[in-house]
Assembly symmetry: C2
Homo-oligomer: 346 residues x 2
């Protein structure tokens, strides 16, 4: 094949927030699948906060993207050539195809998708890694009980909206935090949060905490941690005894010098945090969903019917064109998206 | 009764390390037990780091000792008068008798002890709250697996020595940290730790971490947190993925301005700690043993025979006289004790 493909490569490592020149949009020859491999034409790709971490070379759960390497990420696409008995041209699949129009992947690293059952974009959000992350973290590490209170930030994102809706269905009071009045309206009107606070309306953690306390009159039993920073500082002192804090990410700190920057509130210094964990008997658990794929069928079995019935809703924000992926990504890290951020590649 | 008793009261709240004038030694009339109550003559009382926390009025799991109130604490003593069918004069019992020669307590708040089975002092240490704390935290929250590596500080204290011995019997490599060469020798020779580091020999967390890394060639799977400070800073970067950190206390921070002081290593600032928890999928759990008394019979059933057989050993450091309790307490907070600190009251 001599047809060209396109990809977005990591041109340089960002310091702080990524900028356009950290990325390069390049053409390349479409690769040929080897034995057991499949060639896919990517239709949609996912943009997720964790990708910011892959741009650094600090120690993390995954190896960094090398300079010049294709940016990593999940996508859904159509099989156009296959050297595996498990896939035929015309099949749709989810895989880690990267920021690219085409990708070759081992068949055993891909998951087949039925485009007639659900829009294929759902494999990137509500029924994909983000939705699964929210469901697993809440269910397994949050251990929700009816009558309790949950707080989650990025409440309209694909993780936060799953967390909030699953918690609401389990009988919890759900309080979201989001950036801007529009997102807060989306959180309450579409995702059914009992309340949502606009973190941009508060100058600091202390001010946010005061209103959060009003919104959580019985304290906070589960804080699903996916942003860090000001929200974490605001929530910690409100945690009830035996509270649970699943941690799946800290987007607000991803840009802050490799997460090394100090919290602004001295009471939330390291000893302050540890003391809070101790005296409230908190359970704080970091996790990454890729260690728990064995639970995916259970997630799908529980959640897919609730999406079909409308009990669980989802919102997608779709940017057009692979060449616009860096801009969409930078915008998302700044909260510019409304719902799950996806890029339409094809 | 007109006979006099003696007690140690909280005269004033300490700022930083407690000093002699924070305590007052006072006489009082021996109280008379009401319906369902028992009068006890205290033989031995326990000194524990948590008592430092009760001297502050900061929010904690327990109400502070009021100014002028008797210092709280557990003790073992002999019943000398009883208005309960459950206790008779001559019985021995454990209870929260405070820093006092005599105490009246409701019978249902006391636990009978058989002085013929085990020395009564063991009810304060190896078979009491500290030993139970170590066993529960390690077993339930540490989830030890043979071949893993455990680190615990205050390794010769009643909590740390239980943690280390139970972990060793479960097939773990056990590395202790203690203050001084004598304690390190006690840790390896008496309590069977594979290695013990003297934290006083290191100027900072970084230096301690370097040797700890040598002592833990396969990393650290369980860090039983009972001291905080320099040791915590040293250990955190050595934690293996899926590591567990049970937290039962942070003695090194108790004196540091209500635990609000910052860690010295900026990498261990709040975002740094949270990032470590996230990227290593750590499980961090604060606990207080009084929430888990339902497990006490199981603890006793497992550990008492191992003490009788010599598989688990204990060391006690007994000060003489209630009037010397403040001095023994201040010394213990500075690491001056060797083994479980007890005061012989009678």
């Amino acid at each position: 094949m001599t047809e060209q493909m396109y990809r977005v490569a990591l041109a340089s490592r960002p310091t702080g927030a990524p900028e356009a020149d950290n990325f390069s949009y390049e053409s390349a020859a479409i690769p040929t699948p080897g034995e057991g491999e499949v060639l896919v034409r990517v239709h949609y790709m996912s943009l997720d906060p964790y990708m910011r971490g892959r741009m650094d070379d600090a120690k993390s759960y995954a190896a960094p993207v090398p300079i010049g390497g294709t940016m990593e990420g999940g996508g859904v696409g159509e099989v156009i050539a296959s050297n595996s008995p498990h896939f035929a041209p015309g099949d749709f699949a989810f895989g880690m195809f990267g920021w690219a129009t085409h990708a070759v992947q081992p068949a055993n690293m891909m998951r087949k998708i039925d485009p007639n059952q659900m829009p294929i974009t759902t494999a990137l959000g509500v029924l994909g890694m983000p939705g699964f992350t929210g469901w697993y973290g809440l269910t397994e590490l949050g251990r929700p009980k009816a009558g309790e209170t949950l707080v989650v930030a990025a409440a309209t994102g694909p993780v936060g909206s799953m967390v909030g809706q699953v918690a609401r269905l389990a009988g919890l009071r759900t309080v979201g935090i989001a950036g801007g009045a529009d997102k807060c309206k989306l959180a309450t009107d579409t995702f059914g949060f009992d309340a949502c606070l606009d973190h941009r309306a508060y100058p600091d953690a202390k001010a946010l905490r005061a209103d959060l306390k009003q919104a959580c009159p019985d304290g906070v039993d589960i804080y699903f941690e996916n942003v860090g920073g000001k929200v974490l500082e605001a929530v910690m002192p409100l945690m009830n005894p035996h509270g649970r804090i699943p941690i799946c990410g800290m987007i607000s700190w991803y840009n802050a010098g490799g997460l090394g920057a100090g919290a602004s509130d001295p009471g939330l210094s390291a000893p302050g945090l540890w003391r809070t964990i101790l005296v409230n008997f908190l359970s704080v658990n970091g996790f990454i969903i890729s260690n728990h794929f064995d639970r995916y069928p259970e997630f799908l079995g529980q959640i897919a019917p609730k999406i079909a019935s409308g009990e669980i809703r989802y919102v997608e924000d779709i940017a057009e064109g692979l060449e616009n992926a860096p801009q969409a990504f930078m915008s998302m890290l700044g909260g510019g998206n409304m719902g799950k951020q996806i890029v339409k590649v094809l």
